[in-house]
Structure formats: structure tokens, C-alpha cells
């Protein structure tokens, strides 16, 4: 007995070791997925939460295939402003510590893909599989660069023109005319000249204060390219992949804002107005006409306390400026991008998560919570989306007409020079012609052979 005891002990110890080893080999494999989202507030939390939900679904799918993988999702959205986020992503990636998934503007695809920070999502997922095959084709195109699909659209939005109905009525519009406005805008029967005329009436009749007839966005954004398009401007030459400066359209676009200032309907120093002040003013009818984004709906109706939005506000495409131009709206969808990692498997899982998170049901959660628009027509079949008046009407009236700014490595510079030019014209520092001349000179020097001047 006493002799066999040590043996038993050894056997027991061996069994314990074997068990623990066995348990070790059967344990789930851990995969950590970091998701960084730019420009994201509490209302946009589903940008990250949908990845978490997707991880749960993927884990179950993999388990059924006999793969025990434990996916841990770690979301981060507190980056300050967009530029801090973009710096953070670039620096993390350059130092080899990139998050697996980033949620960012589609405009980052061009520079980040050239720099090798991101990988094409089409290398990892089947592009013909659902839900990818159900996403709006124009949004999928926006997530592509050089003919390669790099990301999947995370949300869609659009930038409408807004009218304060009460003011319109007081300057002589009937209810029926107000209802017909979006259609008139779409048919080019209501143009930017009418915007100035109506805004002037509202100011002259004392319905709104001077400078509040037409109350544009107070800072740079894709919105201003819409007015360039209203006068027939195009940003990208698809044949050559070069950016286009259309001098005539650019001059007319600048002139429109100069005219608005001279007519007293827009303030000369409007740019730089505090956003908080701006939101509260447009949501309380202090401005007659303005333009903003579809996601503003959430801000107007919640924080700013605008009740009965549809009774008080009309919305449409941005009206055409002249016969050459077109009524339009720009969408600047955020995209899910998969970053370059050393592990192929991590990139594959990240791409798979992004795919699952793009399913209509999950995307609808984000769309409704953040007042964004859906990415797939199938979302119209989901009660939550279909019953939301704003989401469904805005999708129908705006999104189908939306285009995006081009994915191009030099577009950031193009946009910045264009906006600075607008600012110099708007503030009266230069005439529209002189401002465009300076823009031309700057663009030629900075963009070189990436630019076509018309």
C-alpha cells in the first residue's frame, strides 16, 4: 500500500496535467477586434455595437462549423474631432498598432489605401453574398477606389435644403404650393434665384432678421460642393481619374453667396458661427431657408425641442442654380474599413463582422437611433425603418438622387482650396472672379497634373 501510494500520486498528477492540457487545447481561440469610430456620438453607438452583435452571430456560425472562436470587440469613439481621429488612426497604423476596423469618411479610402493602411474588403468577403448584394449600388461605388471595393457603407445621409413653412406662408405660399415645392425643385422649376427672392421677401417683410433669410451651414463640409454642382460643376473626370475645376460653375457658385450677402439675406460673417447657436436658430424658425443634413432631424426634434417637424419644415434637394446645373444632394456615407494586420485570419474575421453588421436589420438600428438613412432598399421592409416617417421620406426624396464627392488622394486639397476661395468671396475680400483666379492658381500649383481646368 505504502509503496503504491507515490505511483498513484504520480498517476493522479499526470492525469491532472493531461486534463488541463486537454482543456487547454479545447479552449476557445481568442480574437480581439478593435473598432475605432470617428465623428461618433452616443446617438451613433450602433456603429460599434453592431460589430459586437455581429461578433456574437459570427461566433455561433463558426461554432456550427466546428470552430470555437471567442471574438472580443473593443470599441472606441472618444477622439475629439475628425482630425484627431484621422491622426490617431494614421499614427497607430504607422506604428503597427492599427485597430482592426475603422468607421470613417469614404474620402479616406483613397489616401489610406495608397498608404497601405487598409485592405480591400472584397479580398475577404463574397461580394455576391447577402447582405452586400442588397446595398444600394451608388453607395457601394462610393466605397470603392480604382475599381476595387475597399469598404462597406456604414450609413447613408444626405444634405437637404430646408424651408420654414410658417415664413413661406406669410410671404404668400399656399399649403398646396409648399407641398409641391420638393417636386418643383426636382423639376428645376424652383431655382437658387427663387431662394434669394423668397429669402429677401422674408427679410423685407420683417419675418426674419437681416441675414437670416438664407442661413447656410457655418463651416466647411461637403455641403458647399452641392452649390458648385447646382451650377453645373463636376468634380471628377471619370475617364482620366483627374479632378475638375470648372471655372464658370465655380464663379457662379461664389457669386450666389456674394449676392446673398448683398441682398441682406445672409450675413457676411456667417462662416464661423457657433454650431450650437446655429442649430437653435434654425430649429426655432429664426431663419427662413437653410440647408443642413438629414441627421440634423435628430438634433432639431430632440435637443432643440422642435415638435411637429413635418408641420413646420419642408425639405427638398438643393435647387439648381441655372439651366446647366442640376438639383442635387451629396451623401457622404461613413464606411467600415478593414485595416492591414499581420494576421490574415484577423482581417478575414474583421471583414466578416463588417459584412454581418451591414445586414438591413442591424443597420436599421443605427439608422433610426442616429437619424441616418439606410444603406439598402431592403430596409423599407423592416417595420422600424418603414414606420419612421423621416427615414422613409428622406430616403425616397433625397437618397436616390444623391451623389458623393470623389475618392481621390488630392480631393482634400481641392476641397480646402475651394472652401477658402468661397470664404474670401463671401466675406467680401475678393470678387467672385478674383477668388476663382486665386483658386485656379492655387489648385494648379498644388494639384499639378491631377487637375483639369475648364
Amino acid at each position: 500500500m505504502t509503496r503504491s501510494l507515490p505511483k498513484l500520486r504520480i498517476a493522479a498528477a499526470a492525469a491532472a496535467v493531461a486534463l488541463s492540457l486537454g482543456a487547454g487545447s479545447a479552449a476557445a481561440k481568442d480574437v480581439n477586434i478593435k473598432v475605432w469610430a470617428g465623428g461618433t456620438n452616443e446617438a451613433d453607438s450602433y456603429r460599434m455595437e453592431n460589430i459586437e452583435i455581429a461578433a456574437e452571430i459570427l461566433e455561433r456560425e463558426l461554432a456550427l462549423q466546428g470552430k470555437d472562436i471567442d471574438i472580443k470587440v473593443e470599441g472606441k469613439r472618444d477622439f475629439g474631432k475628425w482630425k484627431e481621429f484621422k491622426q490617431a488612426v494614421q499614427l497607430a497604423a504607422e506604428s503597427g498598432d492599427a485597430p482592426n476596423i475603422v468607421v470613417t469618411s469614404h474620402l479616406d479610402i483613397a489616401p489610406w489605401s495608397k498608404a497601405g493602411l487598409i485592405v480591400p474588403v472584397e479580398d475577404y468577403v463574397d461580394m455576391d453574398a447577402w447582405p452586400i448584394n442588397s446595398i444600394y449600388p451608388n453607395l457601394m461605388e462610393i466605397a470603392s477606389y480604382n475599381g476595387v471595393t475597399f469598404g462597406l457603407p456604414q450609413d447613408a445621409e444626405s444634405r437637404p435644403f430646408f424651408f420654414w413653412k410658417d415664413t413661406l406662408k406669410k410671404i404668400g405660399y399656399s399649403d398646396a404650393q409648399i407641398e409641391a415645392l420638393p417636386e418643383k425643385v426636382e423639376n428645376k422649376e424652383y431655382k437658387l434665384t427663387d431662394v434669394l427672392a423668397d429669402a429677401k421677401k422674408a427679410v423685407d417683410m420683417g419675418l426674419v432678421e437681416k441675414g437670416y433669410g438664407f442661413y447656410p451651414r457655418p463651416s466647411n463640409g461637403p455641403d458647399y460642393a452641392q452649390f458648385y454642382q447646382s451650377f453645373g460643376g463636376k468634380m471628377l473626370d471619370k475617364d482620366t481619374g483627374k479632378l475638375i475645376l470648372d471655372k464658370k460653375s465655380m464663379t457662379e457658385f461664389y457669386q450666389f453667396f456674394i449676392d446673398a450677402v448683398e441682398a441682406g439675406v445672409t450675413r457676411k460673417n456667417h462662416l464661423g458661427t457657433d454650431w450650437g447657436q446655429w442649430y437653435s436658430e434654425v430649429a426655432t424658425g429664426k431663419a427662413a431657408l437653410w440647408h443642413g443634413g438629414t441627421w440634423h432631424y435628430a438634433r432639431y426634434t430632440a435637443k432643440e425641442g422642435l415638435d411637429d417637424f413635418f408641420g413646420k419644415v419642408q425639405f427638398s434637394l438643393i435647387p439648381a442654380g441655372d439651366e446647366d446645373g442640376r438639383p442635387n444632394t451629396i451623401t457622404q456615407p461613413l464606411v467600415y474599413l478593414v485595416t492591414k494586420q499581420n494576421s490574415e485570419e484577423d482581417m478575414e474575421i474583421a471583414a466578416e463582422l463588417v459584412k454581418i453588421a451591414s445586414s438591413p436589420r442591424l443597420n436599421t438600428l443605427h439608422a433610426i437611433k442616429s437619424a441616418h438613412l439606410g444603406i439598402s432598399p431592403e430596409q423599407g421592409n423592416i417595420a422600424l425603418y418603414a414606420n419612421d416617417r423621416w427615414a422613409s421620406e428622406a430616403t425616397e426624396r433625397l437618397l436616390v438622387h444623391a451623389n458623393a464627392q470623389p475618392n481621390h488622394t488630392a480631393f482634400g486639397q481641392f476641397n480646402q482650396i475651394m472652401f477658402k476661395g468661397l470664404e474670401t468671396a463671401w466675406t467680401g475680400t475678393k470678387s467672385a472672379e478674383d477668388a476663382v483666379a486665386e483658386v485656379e492658381e492655387e489648385m494648379k500649383a498644388a494639384l499639378g497634373n491631377m487637375l483639369i481646368v475648364r
Partner: protein, 435 residues
């Protein structure tokens, strides 16, 4: 015996040396280096790869590369050929390879997606997305949009295409396909070409000159007036005027915004008298400049005030008493006793503030961000905008560094100039009394 004491001296200086190297020399050398590159977000910082994209091909057209050749490179082709089938068979089994060969042998697909669709219809199709992608990759017969980490990989992939490529064309192709940064002096030629360069230079001169004038004169004014106040009152006033400097810049500028905005204090106050509300900070270029100079001026003046105050106290009191006995007025005391003795502090503050104003932009960034238009965009702010805060996100590190390098050079020249003008040697010479 001398050695240890030398080491001790070095030991004392070491922390300072480390700080100088880490926070001055290193950034300056890096700036100087980066200024001569085209480094930006899209080139990356750590290096590039080789990738032929449709855009590259468009650009090559203008460089006289044979059009036929480019047309061949431009198409993304997937061909079901023997080498591909053989590779597929080795990797994924004969069945799939045979079925694909039988059904699509010799067929050319114009995109991966088309080929994937064809493979998915096969009976022996791969049962995972990863395998599907891998299977398709065996048949890729183009290098379009494919990323190669080294030049040799890129060159051999190009050779494998079987194109008739002359060495000089290969070189042009490799050069155009490189995605990383390269050494260049273009930043400086661009600087001379851009009309905005002259403007930001002019803005910088306006900014430095007026802010400096305000700083020094207001600092002097405060120092002299508080000198004649009773001790406690003087201390109180000095503390109040010191607030702009010790407040966090963000809060300090926010208070200016509250003061000057349409809905701010000035507008509300003048509104009582029927003056229409306006943005007193951004209404015109002139408004913007006045506010910028005041914002920076009050911060700078507090430093002048402290320095001048202590310098005035160092003036022997009997001189002032004597002048009072002689019936000198306050103004005469200031003019003939105080100001002449403040020569060195004034020169010091002037030179110090010039150099610091040249490179400072944080208050402008927070207040007007260079607006309205580019009216208050100074050189340092422009470098910041180019290198770190470009709206589109494609940050121009190279050009931003080139702008910063110009400031470094101007700063060094100005420092040397000031040292000569102020006769620095005389300032630090041993007092004669100790000789």
C-alpha cells in the same frame, strides 16, 4: 585630479543637454529632413510598396509610354490556363481543377467577381470564402491593383506577364507605381508658386509687428502704473492682468468668443442702444485682426509687466527721491529715469516675443482659425493646417515641414541678429569691478 570636477559639471548639464537634444535639435533635424520629401498621408511615413493602379496608368500615358503596353496593363484579367489549373490542382485537389478546366478551360474573365461567380456554380466548388478567393487568385494574369512590398517582386510579377517591356519602360513603370515618399525639393518651388504664400507671410508680419507693439507698450504701461500704486493694490492689479497668461488657452479664447459673438456681451450691450447685433470677432478682416492682437497682446503683456516691474524696482530709490526733490513730474521720472534703465529688459522682451510670436498660432487657431477667408492665417498656422489638420484628411507632412523649416531659419537668423544688435557680449561681460 581635474577630471572628476569636469564630470561633475557635465553631470549638472546633462539633463539640460538631453532636453535640448530631444525637444529642440531632434525636431529641427526631423523637420529639415521631412521638408525635403513629398511625405503625406497617402505616401505613408514608414515606407511604400509598388502598386499599379488605373490612375498610375493615366499618368504614364502623358509620359510617352507605349499605349498598347498600357492598354495591356490596364485590364484586370483572369485566364483559365494550364499553369493556373495545375497550381489549383496541387492546392485544392484535382476534382475542382478538372471541373474548372472542363467547363471554362481557355476562358478569360474580365474581373475576379466574374470568375468567382463561375467557380461558385461548379459542383466541386470551394466551401469557404477564403478558399474561393484563393482559387480565383491562381488565374490572375494582370498586376493591376496588386500590392508588392518590394521592387524586385513587382519587377518579376511584371516580367511574368510576358509583356515586351524595355528596361527603361520597366524603370518608369516601377517609379510611377511606387506608393511611398521620395526626396524632393518641390515643396520649396511650390511655396514660391502659391499665391497664398505671400499672403501668409504678410499676415505674419502684421501679426508679429502689432502684437509685439501692443505687448511691449501695454506691459510697460502696466509696470509703470502699478509701480506708483500702493503695494497691495499694485499686487492685486498685477494678478488680474496676469490672468490671461495662466488661464488655459481654450477657456481664455472661449471667453473672448462670448464677448464678441452675435449673441455675446458686446452685441447684447450695444443692442440696448439699437445697434444691430454682429459678430465683433469675424465681421471684417479688421475686426478679426483687432481681436487677434488683443487676445495675444494681453497674454504677452503680462509677461512684460512682471519683467519690467522687477526691473523698475531694481532702480535705486534715492534716484527717484532726488528727482522729486528737484521737482520732477511723474512723466519726467518715467522719461528720464525709468525708461533709460529699462533698455535691456525692453530689448529682451522684444526679441523674445518676436521669436515666440513667429511660431505661435494656438490663440489664432482657437479664435478665428485663420478666418475670415485667409485674413488671419499666419505662417505657423498654415504649416499646422497643411501638416496636421487638413479637412480632407490627406495630411501634407512634407509641405508642412517645409513651411516650418522656413520659420526655423528665420528664427535662427533673427536670434543671431538680436544678439549682435544688443551686443550680447557686453551684456554678459564680467563686471569691471571684479577685474
Amino acid at each position: 585630479m581635474k577630471k572628476p570636477s569636469h564630470l561633475l559639471g557635465l553631470g549638472f548639464m546633462l539633463p539640460a543637454l538631453i532636453v535640448v537634444v530631444l525637444f529642440f535639435l531632434l525636431p529641427v533635424f526631423m523637420t529639415a529632413g521631412i521638408a525635403f520629401t513629398n511625405m503625406s498621408t497617402d505616401t505613408g511615413i514608414t515606407g511604400g510598396a509598388y502598386e499599379l493602379t488605373p490612375n498610375t496608368i493615366h499618368n504614364l500615358r502623358t509620359q510617352g509610354v507605349d499605349n498598347n503596353l498600357l492598354a495591356q496593363l490596364e485590364t484586370d484579367v483572369y485566364r483559365i490556363d494550364e499553369p493556373g489549373l495545375a497550381a489549383l490542382a496541387t492546392d485544392m485537389g484535382d476534382k475542382l481543377a478538372k471541373e474548372l478546366g472542363d467547363t471554362h478551360g481557355g476562358v478569360t474573365f474580365q474581373s475576379r467577381r466574374e470568375l468567382e461567380r463561375a467557380i461558385k456554380k461548379l459542383k466541386n466548388k470551394p466551401r469557404s470564402t477564403r478558399k474561393l478567393k484563393k482559387a480565383a487568385a491562381f488565374f490572375k494574369r494582370s498586376i493591376l491593383n496588386q500590392r508588392f512590398e518590394t521592387e524586385s517582386e513587382f519587377v518579376s510579377a511584371t516580367r511574368n506577364l510576358g509583356l515586351d517591356l524595355a528596361p527603361e519602360h520597366q524603370e518608369v513603370l516601377s517609379k510611377a507605381s511606387y506608393t511611398g515618399w521620395t526626396w524632393t525639393t518641390e515643396n520649396f518651388s511650390l511655396m514660391t508658386k502659391l499665391p497664398s504664400t505671400l499672403r501668409i507671410a504678410g499676415n505674419t508680419v502684421i501679426y508679429v509687428f502689432f502684437t509685439l507693439t501692443f505687448n511691449v507698450s501695454f506691459g510697460l504701461f502696466l509696470a509703470i502704473t502699478t509701480f506708483y500704486l500702493p503695494g497691495k493694490a499694485a499686487a492685486t492689479f498685477r494678478t488680474i492682468w496676469f490672468l490671461p497668461r495662466i488661464l488655459p488657452p481654450v477657456i481664455y479664447v472661449l471667453m473672448w468668443k462670448w464677448l464678441t459673438w452675435d449673441t455675446g456681451f458686446i452685441s447684447t450691450f450695444f443692442g440696448q442702444f439699437g445697434v444691430p447685433a454682429k459678430n465683433w470677432m469675424l465681421d471684417t478682416n479688421f475686426h478679426a485682426w483687432v481681436v487677434i492682437i488683443l487676445i495675444n497682446g494681453f497674454v504677452g503683456a503680462s509677461m512684460g509687466m512682471i519683467l519690467f516691474s522687477s526691473a523698475i524696482r531694481a532702480i535705486p530709490a534715492p534716484m527717484l527721491y532726488a528727482s522729486e526733490v528737484d521737482g520732477a513730474t511723474r512723466w519726467q521720472q518715467v522719461r528720464y529715469i525709468i525708461l533709460p534703465q529699462l533698455r535691456w529688459p525692453i530689448l529682451f522682451i522684444t526679441s523674445y516675443q518676436t521669436l515666440s510670436l513667429l511660431t505661435s498660432f494656438e490663440y489664432i487657431f482657437l479664435a478665428t482659425d485663420g478666418g475670415p477667408g485667409k485674413a488671419t492665417e499666419v505662417w505657423a498656422l498654415s504649416a499646422f493646417h497643411q501638416a496636421l489638420a487638413n479637412y480632407g484628411g490627406n495630411l501634407q507632412y512634407g509641405y508642412g515641414a517645409a513651411l516650418a523649416l522656413v520659420l526655423v531659419i528665420i528664427g535662427i537668423i533673427a536670434s543671431v541678429g538680436y544678439l549682435r544688435v544688443f551686443n550680447f557680449k557686453e551684456l554678459v561681460a564680467r563686471p569691471r569691478i571684479e577685474q
